[in-house]
């Protein structure tokens, strides 16, 4: 199937062009986690996380 070989060549060329133009930004997710950053409605409360409880009527 020579036409398919040509298709693959075109796709590979597109892929190469795209990847060579791609600049990876620094991973934001790779910066990790910090339990102290978890949102808490009562930031000074203790013990966490159980004490983070506000305004829920249901």
């Amino acid at each position: 199937h020579p036409e398919l070989v040509s298709v693959l060549q075109n796709i590979s060329q597109l892929k190469d062009e795209f990847e060579s133009s791609m600049q990876f930004g620094e991973s934001e997710i790779g910066k990790g986690t910090d339990r102290n950053l978890e949102p808490c409605c009562n930031p000074q409360c203790s013990p966490k996380p159980e004490c983070c409880h506000c305004g829920t009527t249901h």
Binding site: H1, V7, D34
Partner: protein
């Protein structure tokens, strides 16, 4: 007058989940109506098979690799988030005088003192949960009235899921049963207020539905034959209906582009409580079609001619499209999106030539896993995923480890959208 924009974004929703897509027990009358009177996309793609990266691309028009929202997703205690120097759709429109609001799932970071909240990324108003609603213990929470507890335990050992209004936590844990009513009210008030002031607006509604654990309020519980997933989907659909009703009631319907799509494919690991990719292969977490090809609709009453388009398009293209329609300059960065004007108004072929499929964990070492060009898709790497694991197709399962293909697996997606029959190119 400048056009208004409403962007509806479902969560973990598959290609085969909606009523108009043929699902026999889903009940989505409002989305079906949008599809019938709007332009339905058959070849529309998210940029990632998981949540945060997909949302980063949607809002910036750039692959997630550029903004750094990879690998995987952000967590409640994540130190990072969508960098503030990234320009979102809201920030593109605001300088033109747009009112901007968002309700629902952000999932692009919280950070120290709310550094990464939507209010820091161009949204005037925000009501919602800043990440996935399973990212906190949920086993004691009510997901369906009167008191059906949420299915499973969700993430334990972290804070319960908060509801935020702006940058203030107003509820913790969130009240799932009444959450959607709050969103409907928020949307209605925002549209009414903007219309009264004759101010153009952008409303972004990334819904929590239909992500695990499914939930719904009194008006939707038990109303579908599909069970919890169907009830959650119906509740999302009802909010869509309320938004459309308000647009009409306030006289701005004919000046509003409503765009609907979803972040990634169905989470098949939830089995009947997960979504359905229809005829597409695998689901969330994979670079097969089921992981990233999504239902999509563009609706603009009296402006966009109803129909179906097979043009290749992506969430990347929404920012450039909204910007062009509003006459806003594009951000001065490398964009990956192209505007869809030709598709929307002429049912034309569009500008997008290719779609690149990044895995959950993109790396420079492996690059993209697959490429679609025209009707052909080449897989250079394939891998299963826990998110799609119990699917009977072994390629979807976690036991299908990373595999390099040389020559790449090649499929004709027009004649074989299910990626069943690899074409021989040896």
């Amino acid at each position: 007058a400048l056009p208004n924009f409403v962007l509806l974004f479902a969560d973990d929703l598959g290609f085969g989940d909606l009523g108009f897509a043929g699902h026999p027990t889903s009940l989505t009358p409002n989305l079906d109506r949008l599809a019938a009177h709007g332009l339905r996309f058959t070849d529309f793609y998210a940029t990632s098979p998981v949540c945060s990266p997909s949302r980063a691309s949607l809002l910036t028009g750039r692959y997630q690799t550029r903004s750094g929202i990879y690998p995987g997703v952000l967590y409640p205690g994540s130190k990072g988030g969508l960098p503030l120097n990234e320009t979102t759709i809201a920030e593109v429109l605001k300088p033109l005088g747009y009112a901007t609001a968002m309700m629902g799932k952000w999932h692009l970071g919280y950070g120290a003192n709310g550094t990464y909240l939507p209010t820091r990324q161009g949204f005037d108003h925000y009501l919602g949960i800043p990440y996935s609603h399973d990212m906190g213990p949920c086993h004691n929470l009510t997901c369906f009235p009167p008191d059906v507890k949420c299915y499973g335990s969700c993430d334990v050992g972290t804070v319960t899921v908060p509801l935020m209004n702006g940058e203030t936590i107003t509820q913790q844990p969130v009240d799932f049963v009444n959450l959607e009513d709050s969103y409907s009210t928020f949307a209605t008030e925002f549209i009414r207020s903007s219309a009264q002031k004759s101010q153009p607006f952008f409303l972004y509604y990334p819904s929590h539905h239909t992500h695990y654990p499914q939930f719904a309020g009194w008006k939707s519980v038990g109303r579908t034959l599909r069970g919890p997933f169907g009830d959650a989907l119906l509740e999302f659909d009802s909010t869509v209906g309320n938004i459309l009703h308000t647009l009409k009631e306030t006289g701005v319907l004919n000046n509003t582009l409503v765009f609907f799509t979803a972040d990634n494919g169905p989470e098949l690991m939830r089995m009947s409580r997960g979504g359905n990719a229809g005829l597409l292969k695998c689901g969330k977490g994979t670079t097969y079609e089921g992981g990233m090809r999504e239902p999509a609709i563009a609706y603009w009453s009296g402006v966009i001619k109803p129909g179906v388009t097979h043009s290749l398009s992506s969430t990347l293209d929404i920012l450039p499209t909204f910007a062009r329609l509003a006459g806003a300059p594009l951000p001065d960065v490398q964009l990956d999106g192209v505007d869809m004007i030709d598709i929307l108004f002429n049912h034309g072929a569009g500008q997008r030539k290719a779609m690149f499929y990044y895995p959950v964990d993109p790396s420079e070492k492996y690059g993209v896993f697959a490429v679609r060009m025209g009707k052909y898709k080449a897989h250079y790497y394939t891998r299963g995923s826990t998110h799609s694991d119990p699917n009977p197709d072994k390629d979807c399962q976690i036991i299908s480890l990373l595999k390099y293909h040389d020559p790449p697996l090649l499929y004709d997606l027009e004649s074989d959208p299910s990626e069943h029959y690899s074409l021989s190119v040896k």
